[in-house]
Assembly symmetry: C2
Homo-oligomer: 216 residues x 2
DNA sequence: GTCAACAATCTTGTATACAAGATGGGCAGA
DNA sequence: TCTGCCCATCTTGTATACAAGATTGTTGAC
């Protein structure tokens, strides 16, 4: 149970970054050749991908890449918003001073990135911000569920950051979250966080509809 | 991809209902014989169980049943509470009159069950109540995530219902949820739902600690 | 007597062989 | 020429054979 793990991760990356197009069929024997293994470990990897929802296995037909459609993406962002809001709610009571300081430090670096128009730098700090939020929920199950969905939404979140004025807006939202956490105001921390993530979904949705107008 | 599906479901049931004890090793060849298949479909089933977290695969050692420990259970109930609260929040704006009526009807039947001390009957109606709540979130992704976790917590929820006076208390909580939904009060619907599920976790936790005092 | 090392055996992980279902093309009939 | 049926081929699903690592029991030495 080692080789199939690596293969699953690799394939997951290739699907997430769009190397495999939506609807494309993944050929067992071809990929087996590419990875220099037999079909067995590949099939194991396929199963994992199918459970994560990255591919669909149609019996006796094969596995096909399934990128989430616009509707499903909106739904996933909605759930992400609620999960992160839950993290914030719990973190408001549980967060350590140390983590709070770290979040502030991250926000400071984010501000620099905004001024430098450094989208990649901002992205990196943003990732850390959210990772800390998950962790400070004090609920490791919630943390891992958040990480799972977060990872799944990676490419779409990244896109959304490119939206005009989004960087500074995102920053402001981060600061509001930290402020609420510092005051221990669970209600507000949750609300601010929910808004922060929901906005991402909306921005993304807007971007999508402007990119492909009236697609199907 | 059919036989392994059925096997995975069967094994999942056997693990959830406690036929396989925590820590028990699942023998590939033995189970293959029992199901009258080769090791291949069994291994596929094992993988699925491993991803759902019901078993742990230790490389070159085998698969072992992993029942969640008390800490993890509390965490899972906490997440369940937040997910269901999210359903309620969304449902408050999206629920149909029809579904609302159905929830009221279920509560009426629940009341009967409470009076008859019919725990099983109550359990069944309770399941439907929550299923409708998930559905009425209007978010199919959220719905499936809720169903997944709900299913995982099944045996522990069931246990908790046996707690003294829990039935009528649960009923009252259901009514509060429906009332908030009817008014379209998202905030309150979420809060009531969160409480309702969180109480389940607490009741369960209490039950556990009374059953095995100072276990390890 | 106890501990350590080695070997035999068992179990998992991987490859390959085999079976069965699905698809597509070709052929025949209308 | 078009349509429908059948056969060939391809791909998946399953079984089995093979390889490699882990465990355990036995034997020998201290």
């Amino acid at each position: 149970m080692k080789r199939s793990d690596r293969i699953a991760e690799t394939l997951e990356g290739l699907i997430i970054d769009g190397t495999f197009a939506d609807g494309e069929r993944l050929d067992e024997v071809q990929l087996a050749g590419r990875f220099e293994v037999s079909r067995t470990p590949l099939r194991e990897a396929f199963q994992r991908l199918a459970i994560s929802g990255l591919v669909e296995q149609i019996p006796r037909r094969g596995v096909f890449v399934r990128q989430p459609g616009p509707v499903q993406l909106v739904e996933m962002f909605e759930v992400m918003a609620e999960l992160e809001a839950a993290c914030a709610r719990l973190a408001a009571a549980r967060i350590s001073d140390e983590a709070l300081e770290e979040m502030k430090a991250i926000n400071a670096r984010c501000l620099e990135a905004v001024e430098l128009r450094d989208t990649d730098g901002y992205y990196y700090e943003n990732e850390r911000f959210h990772a800390i939020l998950y962790r400070q929920s004090g609920n490791s199950f919630l943390q891992s569920e958040c990480q799972r969905l977060h990872r799944r939404l990676t490419p779409f979140r990244r896109l959304q950051l490119r939206s005009r004025g989004r960087l500074s807006q995102s920053m402001a939202e981060h600061e509001a979250i930290v402020a609420a956490l510092e005051e221990g105001d669970a209600q507000r921390a949750a609300a601010e966080t929910r808004l922060h993530v929901a906005v991402q979904g909306e921005k993304f949705q807007h971007l999508m509809s402007s990119l492909r107008p009236a697609a199907e």
